[in-house]
């Protein structure tokens, strides 16, 4: 059965468009939830919400700082869930955090909390395919779509296995490195999108190193869409508020729509 995250992304693709999923840090500032809502209105197909973790090894300086600030302000996973529970966002949400946050709460309780908060999916980047079993069982039981990452270091055979177990979409890691905005789109971004497209029918979204609308358009020559994290989070850190973040989301939306002549 197609989950709500996958369905929302497919709806965009069926209309001939490209998918846009901004990443925003949960609990960063008092208006983070309003920022999520504003991003949805500005044209996000889904919103990825980071649950802050003390040791985010896949993240670069921008998201690290966002994590540190949110944690210093005392945010907990439960607070993020509680606010999402009462919120009307209008597009599916997917949380991104690290394995220990889910493990500490207990995989079943964590998955149930997501479901109660009408979160559609989860990304746990340090729980790779080999370690996925216990989490996947808990997530599947609550119909939480577990998005897996496919990286340039994987063989085609491994990418196929990852894509087969991924739900919602496949997160193509655009470069060898951690999250953060780069001057140029890495050559590896289009390559990994193409390799994943060759082994799956799921939407393939490229993240890590996609920081400008131009880069998003470029990578979408191969990919079905993009995840944009650090560029969005930088705006949150700069105090741009919901409007400032929505403005950036709209810029990405417009660039992607123009590239596909899609309105």
């Amino acid at each position: 059965m197609t989950g709500v995250l996958e369905a929302a992304l497919r709806a965009r693709l069926d209309r001939g468009g490209k998918c846009l999923v901004p990443y925003l840090t949960g609990g960063l500032g008092n208006d983070w939830l309003e920022t999520v809502q504003a991003a949805a209105i500005a044209g996000a197909d889904a919103v990825e919400i980071g649950i802050p973790f003390s040791d985010p090894v896949m993240d670069g300086p921008t998201i690290q700082l966002a994590n540190d600030r949110a944690l210093a302000a005392g945010v907990t996973p439960q607070q993020v869930f509680d606010r999402l529970h009462r919120a009307d966002i209008g597009v599916p949400t997917v949380v991104m955090t690290y394995g220990n946050i889910a493990y500490r709460m207990g995989y079943q309780r964590f998955a149930a909390s997501l479901a109660r908060s009408t979160v559609a999916g989860a990304i746990l980047p340090d729980i790779p395919l080999e370690e996925l079993g216990p989490w996947a069982t808990a997530a599947d039981a609550e119909a939480i779509e577990t998005v897996l990452l496919g990286a340039p270091t994987a063989s085609d055979e491994r990418l196929a296995r990852i894509a087969q177990r991924s739900r919602g979409f496949v997160y193509a890691v655009g470069l060898l490195g951690i999250t953060g905005v780069r001057e140029q789109l890495a050559a590896s971004a289009k390559v990994i999108a193409k390799r994943l497209k060759a082994v799956t029918d799921l939407p393939v979204l490229v993240g890590v190193g996609v920081g400008t609308p131009r880069q998003a358009v470029e990578v979408c020559e191969e990919a079905d869409g993009v995840v944009v994290g650090s560029a969005m989070v930088q705006r949150m850190l700069d105090g741009a508020g919901p409007d400032g973040v929505a403005e950036l989301v709209a810029e990405f939306r417009q660039a992607l729509d123009e590239s596909t002549n899609h309105c």
Partner: protein, 400 residues
């Protein structure tokens, strides 16, 4: 390097480890595994294959053995401490890893890993360091093997271990400050892993302890097993068998894993000593961080807590998964010791035996002092994992 038949027969490594190998999924009991970002999974699997192949290859083992003997100065001796024994009422033996080249046990694993990295065609090493001992050892191996080397060190540790920072630079390595979080060992591990994610094709992550994703906990223990193998033979000739107690300090747990591996199949009690402010095993709360499922100091939500210890080398909130397994199965016990007791032990060994220990193994001696009634009349083997030169400036200030 050519090895004569005579040398081969006196090879200090046995072929099998009494500690046992981890399962296919890299687990010791329920602990271990490979919890890393997808980008690193193929690299860890490649390392696993390369290590298995190298470790089964007599040529690799002979090369490493010669490096141990002719470069690191192995075997390290055992010193029987008459004065200290008289003072504490138990017979204390020191396994002198402090006498190795670079001043600690860390050289064992680093030589093994650098040799393996070369064999894998890697040209660069990246490492994390706390007290600087592992960083210095890695920088040393990088110089010897003509490899580029980057060492991450917490900003706080850079300040308290400036001599080791200078040593690493002298050896041709680049030292980068880890400025996030507590700016200590945990954060240096984060930065080293992030660096590895970006440079995984050319670079070997020379992890400094029996922690991290599979195969590191196993591989690093295997490279340190030489400590236990030597000690077991030395105790056999000195004592006619195993000592009553084997004690070692535990941060990540590499020196303890090395010496325990020589005695885990004997009657000897195995005791790991943790800093009271960094007692992951003492608290026994399981978690998943830095690549493995093990015990971890964390809050109720799973945020990793900062460890606090007078010794930069033990300032780590996690612990190697094999120690979690040894604790859970009760084959080893783990005891906390306070900074004040460590300082006392540091001074006692200097005064009674003329040996200035590193602050890390001073934890192990601190426990012997605390437990001396329980240990009365027993024979205790302490792994003196490093020498105290690096800590002298810090202690001078502390004791002023």
């Amino acid at each position: 390097m050519a090895v004569s038949a005579q040398e081969k027969t006196t090879h200090p490594y046995g072929n099998t480890s009494v500690m046992g190998d981890p399962s296919e999924s890299g687990r010791f009991g329920e602990f271990g595994g490979m919890f890393v970002p997808e980008t690193l999974v193929p690299a860890c699997q490649e390392l696993d294959r390369a290590f298995r192949s190298a470790w089964a290859d007599p040529v690799f083992r002979d090369e490493l053995y010669l490096l141990f003997r002719d470069y690191a100065g192995r075997p390290s001796p055992i010193t029987i401490c008459e004065n200290l024994s008289a003072e504490l009422g138990c017979r204390i033996l020191l396994k002198r890893e402090d006498l190795n080249h670079t001043g600690s046990h860390k050289i064992n694993s680093v030589l093994g890993q650098a040799l393996l990295a070369k064999r894998m065609g890697k040209t660069r090493l990246v490492a994390e360091t706390g007290a600087g001992q592992h960083g210095v050892a890695t920088a040393t191996a990088a110089a010897l093997f003509d490899m580029e080397c980057i060492v991450y060190m917490g900003e706080v540790d850079i300040r308290r271990q400036e001599l080791n920072v200078f040593r690493m630079k002298l050896l041709g390595s680049e030292v980068r400050a880890a400025q996030s979080g507590s700016q200590t060992l945990k954060d240096a591990v984060n930065e080293a892993m992030r660096h590895w994610v970006g440079a995984v094709e050319s670079t070997h992550y020379c992890l400094g302890s029996v922690m991290g994703p599979h195969p590191y906990p196993w591989m690093v223990r295997e490279f340190h097993r030489v400590i236990g193998v030597e000690a077991s033979q030395q105790c056999a000739s000195l004592l006619g068998g195993a000592p009553d107690v084997v004690v070692a300090c535990v941060g990540g747990g590499s020196n303890a894993a090395g010496i325990f591996s020589g005695f885990v199949d004997t009657e000897a009690a195995l005791v790991g000593v943790e800093p009271a402010g960094g007692a992951a095993l003492g608290r026994a709360v399981p978690g998943v961080v830095h690549g493995s499922h093990s015990y971890l100091m964390q809050d109720e939500w799973g945020q990793v807590l900062e460890a606090h210890s007078i010794s930069a080398g033990l300032d780590y909130p996690g612990v190697g998964p094999e120690h979690a397994h040894l604790a859970a199965t009760k084959r080893a016990r783990y005891e906390p010791i306070s900074d004040a007791q460590v300082v006392e032990a540091f001074q006692l060994l200097a005064r009674t035996e003329g040996i200035i220990p590193a602050l890390e193994p001073a934890h192990a001696l601190g426990w012997i002092m605390q437990a001396k009634d329980e240990l009365a009349g027993q024979t205790v083997l302490l792994n003196l994992s490093g020498r105290g030169d690096k800590d002298v400036a810090q202690m001078m200030e502390h004791l002023a």
